[in-house]
Amino acid sequence: MTTMNKGIQGLKGKGSQRTMLEGALVLIVIALALVIRTKLPGGELRAVSTIFMFIALSQAWNIIGGFTGYASFGQVVFFGMGGYFTAVVMLKFHFSFWLALPLAGVFAAVFAALIGQPLLKLKGHYFAIATLGVAEGMREVVINLPDLTGGGAGISVPIAGTFAKTQYLGDAGFYLLFLGLALFAVGIGTLVSRNKFGYGLRAIHQNEDAAAAVGINTVRSKVMAYSLSAFITGVVGASYVFQQVTIFPERLFDVEITVLMIMMVVIGGSGTVVGPLLGAIGLQFISEYLREHFTNVHTFILAAIIILAVILIPQGAVNYFREGRRTKDYSLLANIRRYRL
């Protein structure tokens, strides 16, 4: 939880007009989301909840991958650990979900702090593969502890009967929960993007030696960023588990979830708050739409869209427009020329 406090420090005293405008915008979005909730049927609510979930996940990844520049390729491990923590304490120790939820985040954050110490010394692809190794390894651990986790057979959260301390939330309930998580994550992201801690992370991303030379404790900052990111991811994992009821290690530690987070952040614009937000909404919406309307070839079309997006705007949508605004040049061809060999 210390990471959280640190992250919040910079909030105080941003009383500019911009903040008020943004506050108003957030209120409008929340109001809109609540209105939508009453209009949509259950299945659509579930689909929108998934979008909210990926907003939160991509914001979480953005903190370590986008701001700090450490591409955590095993981010799903915190999703899985938070999720399994929740399932186990709810099933075996009869915790209420509302108690398990924050604890799952803390559990993931502490785990991140522990593995972060050695792993965050690694750079670039090496860090990526090491975190991937942790995620794959933890999945194996979960599979191999069947007495605790149910192993490959999966585990079910109690939603009915005497041990069910928290009533199942239903589609509308989970909609609110994931909306809350998305707002929380975007809030944290906004905070980090504008405070001392976040600037420290960006400095680390650009050059670690130079960051250390201006007094940034790079080790502590990186571990804190990793833990903060893990906290959010863990809390999302916990909520996902309660929504799904029965979970399996293959899905909870599915590398595709990590890839999706990265894709959303990078295509939207890494190191910004709006980027991952748009990336998550856009990509999840598109993939959902394609799956529904092109049952047989949807992955093909999605792959083509990803390839095109990556080639046309490798710096991500938000960064592309920002650069365009600065240089007054929105030409995609010029953009390609900049990044090609």
Partner: protein, 406 residues
């Protein structure tokens, strides 16, 4: 150097275009026809794409047969079945979400996905949405011990998979083998299968070795084989999926492990098993939910043998038990619809609970948990590259070849 890539680029481009087929959309119904829409979310991409496709074929075949032959009416109008498909990408959360989306569109009658994890997630949602689902792809007992009342499984339960082979060997193998080694993948379904089989084997007086577990979906089971090598088991019984099943046979050969017979769940009845293993597949025993000699018949598919031949004509490959399971699930749903003359999920749920029919798939009847405990599994053996039913004795096409000599 520079021309070759362009040519191959053209080939790739052409093949890309070729695969972009557009799905045929079912024709709109005429005025005197009432169409009942079933929802089916199946894995068409991802790790279960193969089984998902077989399942879809089974549903499709059922729809075509029923619509062609049915004279049943609802409210004086002729009844037609339409099935809406969604790809769940082999992921449980998507499989569940798809059902909720069906529910939004008023589709309350569901044909299940493939794979225990997917069906497990679907069963929970079906309960919440008050839909009714017939399951053709998730046999794990864990789905049915949660008190759900709206999911009905046409298959024999997981615990029967290995048990049937143990019984068959006990009845038919002469000289009767003594030791039986159990090797198993470590997913929930395979473990349930193995524990059931071991219990049966002990009860029937076999000396049980193992179980030795290996990771689900591995293509290297040599460690498990090496561990039982010294025991020289008479029978090696594997609770496997296709990949581990093939690996087990190949690697046992490589390692010089020669039991009197191999027996495997799931893998041998898949057509690819005999084609990929060739002579090595000979005489391997397998347990199957269905074979073309299963007894029973009804008006749509006739006998199992009719099902097999018509399926072959329609899809160009032999019907596997995955196909048959799916058709049977769809059939159960259709029969319930015809009985109630409605598309009401609650009424159909009640009708399914009471259903008892002899079909090409064998007896379809559900116990109080929704499982079909009334249908025995069949045991097949690969003989001369063909899948031959050898047990139960009453429907056997040929005698079990024993022992496995080679």
């Amino acid at each position: 150097m520079k021309k070759t890539p362009r040519t191959s680029a053209a080939i790739i481009a052409a093949s890309c275009l070729a695969v972009f087929g557009i799905n045929a959309i079912p024709a709109a119904s005429a005025a005197d026809v009432v169409t009942i829409t079933l929802g089916a979310s199946v894995p068409l991409t991802g790790s279960l794409a193969k089984e998902g496709l077989l399942t879809k074929e089974g549903y499709q075949f059922c729809q075509e047969k029923v619509n062609a032959l049915s004279t049943a009416t609802i409210g004086g109008k002729q009844k037609k079945i339409d099935i809406v498909y969604q790809d769940d990408t082999s992921k449980p959360d998507v499989a569940a979400q798809n059902l909720s989306k069906f529910n939004d569109k008023g589709i309350k009658l569901i044909l299940s996905s493939y794979g225990s994890a997917n069906v497990n997630a679907q069963a929970a949602v079906v309960e919440l949405n008050k839909q009714t689902m017939v399951d053709s792809g998730g046999a794990d007992d864990a789905i049915f011990n949660k008190g759900y009342t709206r999911t009905f499984n046409v298959m024999s339960p997981a615990s029967e998979y290995a048990t049937s082979m143990v019984k068959a060997i006990s009845e038919m193998a002469k000289p009767k083998p003594v030791t039986m080694a159990f090797l198993s993948a470590d997913d929930g379904f395979s473990k349930t299968v193995t524990l059931g089989g071991m219990k049966a084997a002990t009860a029937l007086g076999f000396t049980v070795i193992g179980p030795q577990y290996f990771p689900n979906a591995t293509s290297d089971v040599s460690a498990a084989l090496n561990k039982i090598k010294a025991d020289k088991p008479d029978v090696i019984l594997g609770s496997v999926h296709f990949v581990e099943g093939v690996a087990m046979i190949k690697q046992a050969k490589e390692l010089g492990i020669t039991p009197k017979s191999f027996a495997q769940t799931v893998a041998p009845p898949i057509l690819d098993f005999a084609t990929t293993l060739g002579p090595l597949a000979e005489n391997v025993l397998g347990s199957s939910q269905w074979s073309s000699v299963v007894k029973g018949q009804e008006k749509y598919f006739g006998k199992a043998s009719n099902y097999a031949s018509e399926f072959l004509a329609r899809f160009g490959h032999e019907a596997t038990y995955h196909n048959a399971e799916a058709s049977a699930a769809c059939l159960a749903m259709v029969l319930a619809i015809e009985k109630t003359k409605s598309a009401d999920a609650d009424k159909i749920k009640t009708a399914l609970s009471a259903l008892d029919v002899q079909s090409f798939f064998g007896r379809i009847k559900f116990d109080s948990t929704g499982q079909n405990t009334f249908k025995p599994m069949v045991v097949i053996q690969i003989q001369k590259g063909k899948i031959i039913t050898v047990w139960p004795r009453a429907i056997a096409q040929a005698k079990m070849i024993w022992p496995y000599v080679k």
